[in-house]
Amino acid sequence: MKTHNSSIEHLQAEFDARIAEDAKIEPKDWMPAAYRKTLIRQISQHAHSEVIGMQPEGNWITRAPSLRRKAVLMAKVQDEAGHGLYLYSAAETLGMSRDQMIADLQSGKAKYSSIFNYPTLSWADIGAIGWLVDGAAIMNQVMLCRCSYGPYSRGMVRICKEESFHQRQGFEIMLTLAQGSEEQKAMAQDALNRWWWPSLMMFGPPDSESANTEQSMAWRIKRQTNDELRQRFVDQTTPQADYLGLTIPDPDLKWDAEAGHYQFGEVDWDEFWQVVKGNGICNRDRIRQHVKAHEDGTWVREAAQAHAERKAAAAEAA
């Protein structure tokens, strides 16, 4: 019989070997406490972003300019709710409870993507969000499909499949506006002006200031650094903006033929940290709305519980 060595050193070595050979870590495997903690923070933050992200877009469902746009937007927002669910479930496999995650979101202890603290002022913002915000999210999520934690990586595969229409519907809105009247084109440009820089912030602080990146890369939770993803996003998105005939609000943006990349200006990281700290335009609204929706739903949860109890009692009596 094989003797089983379960000392911490042995478990750690086994974990390290798995990571080294690019194998997945599964829920019942031993894992370092810091790995678990990092994943819980990242996955729950990701889940919160999907859920809070429904608010800025939901804001336009009743005012979508046609039945087609309305149906598409509803389908997209529904998807985001589903993404929240997949991610909360993935975090729960790490021993974190759903109730605790919701409590942490509402108390401000847990964060969500700061992009959702900006308001959606015009219909063009719905186009810009799909094109830029979902575009940036997809770039990050494609990377996370290869994350070392099995449930997270599998959730990402599913989410990426569903996301495929999100960016396209946004680009379609932008294209329609960009080819429309002068006012419509101005609306599209205004939306791009407001959403461009916050979209670049979605990839997180620069590598030089990102405390977690190095460890996350070593654990193969992440495969690319914030700056690498941000550069790729700029490289892919700039020609798309050109096609739309819109101007990216960055005077320093220019093609660097030698590097094979676009050079771009400095992100306003002070603004980023202000929004992260809760001082964005919509932070308070977003949480207030989440608390209200949760409280308004209390009767539904109570009714479901009462129904289940009554059914169980009837089954027992029969």
């Binding site: 149906a71 598409v72 519907q169 680009f171 294209l175």
Partner: protein
């Protein structure tokens, strides 16, 4: 003693690390622990798996295929949930 008194378990196997558990079949066993052992003997004789789940069959609630039409009906007319619904100009890459 009759086998029929033993509860039925459904068996799910993860064939490789990183993949989902997949349903492979069922078996009778006296309890969960025994079901795991039997599942190993019956379903993984050729190293088909790295992890097994056993779930009591009575705990599984399934939708019915003959009800599928009405059950999935709401999804039928929502073609816009697919990326192919949107036309992307040839010149636009990476979308």
């Amino acid at each position: 003693m009759s086998d029929h008194k033993l509860p039925l378990f459904e068996v799910f196997i993860r064939s490789r690390r990183g993949l989902d558990h997949k349903h492979v079949g069922s078996l009778h066993a006296q309890d969960h622990e025994a079901a795991l052992g039997y599942a190993r003997d019956v379903y993984t004789r050729r190293n088909e798996g790295v992890s097994i789940w056993v779930v009591k069959s009575e705990d599984i609630v399934a939708s019915q295929e003959h009800e599928a039409e009405s059950f999935y009906d709401p999804m039928d007319d929502k073609v816009y949930r697919h990326a192919s619904f949107y036309e992307v100009p040839d010149e636009v890459k990476h979308m």
